[in-house]
Amino acid sequence: MLRAIFLLLACQLAGEAIHRLTGLALPGAVLGMILLLGWLALIPRERPALTAVTGWLTAHLAVMFVPAAVGLINEGDVLVTDGIGLAAATVCSTMLTMAVTALVFGWALKRFVPGGGEDAA
């Protein structure tokens, strides 16, 4: 368990280091995620512990961004002046993204995956 936590922190730390040293613009945590993917593919030993720890973290993701979201307390002016634009852009962009992704996925499934790639799930 402790080793899985260490691995998550180590991957993030390495990701942050790469982010700063190379000027690569991907955030450190995203680079850390790619590093952890590499670790999982190469070294099987910590897989069960990592699954347990990250399962717990993902299940509680919502509470973790509460402190940041409370920062809206200082952004009242923005919400008054640009609230309508923000709402319109968020609503339209969410629907457009969902439609485009679903249609492209459905089209590519028929066009490129013989037999539809049926699986158990």
């Binding site: 973790m64 809206l72 499934l109």
Partner: protein, 239 residues
């Protein structure tokens, strides 16, 4: 007593307590997207900060142990991606094409529409990572010169709205394949959309989680390319 208000223990306890109360309420309402606990916890906490005259900086420092977990949680998204590797291999072409199209659509439409309203650069940078999971959106927003807390709320509303419109929108479009449906919900409405997809079916939920994790990387990469060349988004869109 005033000393207690300044101690990290106080705001940590209050934050977890308020969140847990709304989480219990959300469970009682069958996890309806409008009952998402963050949606109600944030205004209550803002009210408490105002009532006690606590500056946001003090609250942010006190609750650092909670926010700190975001980084390791993002790193941990590698685990579900790795677990889905066989399926990724089988559906590689649809996944890559749909992910690229979806991530581009999200960035261009969100920034483009907001630019039409004449919003300043800091807001365009806050909405550009709209489709990613919240911690990634906050990191990307601050890198691009946006406002992380605003990015968090935009992402939250996108998730709530996406979770509510998914079934009617995808039915209307005639998309029947559960994998196309699930993946689209994850790419466009991240974690809140994925939670909704899991309620519909485990298969759709798994594809939604995959879409969310992959889009965190794809949107980060696309925005990084834009930032790396120091081309501002609105110059590309030429508004």
């Amino acid at each position: 007593m005033t000393g207690l208000l300044a101690a990290p223990l106080f705001w940590l306890t209050v934050t977890l307590g308020v969140f847990e109360a709304f989480d219990a309420l959300s469970r009682r309402f069958g996890r309806h997207p409008l009952c998402h606990p963050v949606l109600w916890t944030v205004p209550v906490l803002i009210g408490l900060l105002l009532a006690t005259g606590t500056p946001y900086a003090a609250y942010r420092d006190a609750t650092f142990p909670i926010s700190f977990l975001l980084g390791p949680a993002v790193v941990g998204l590698a685990v579900p991606v790795w677990a889905a590797r066989a399926r990724i291999r089988r559906l590689a072409i649809p996944i890559i094409l749909a992910l690229t199209a979806g991530a581009l659509t999200s960035i261009v439409s969100a920034v483009g529409i907001l630019a039409l309203f004449g919003a300043p650069d800091s807001l365009l940078a806050s909405i550009a990572p709209r489709a990613t999971t919240t911690p990634v959106a906050m990191a990307l927003a601050s890198q691009l010169g946006g406002i992380p807390s605003l990015a968090a709320m935009i992402v939250l509303f996108a998730g709530v709205f996406g979770a509510m419109c998914a079934t009617p929108l995808l039915d209307w479009l005639g998309v029947r394949d559960y994998r196309a449906r699930g993946f689209a919900v994850g790419v466009s409405a991240h974690g809140i959309g994925s939670a909704r997809a899991f309620q519909v079916s485990p298969g759709a939920g798994a594809l939604a989680s995959l879409g969310m994790a992959l889009n965190a990387v794809m949107t980060a990469a696309l925005l990084s390319l834009l930032e790396f060349d120091d081309i501002r988004l609105h110059h590309i869109l030429n508004f």
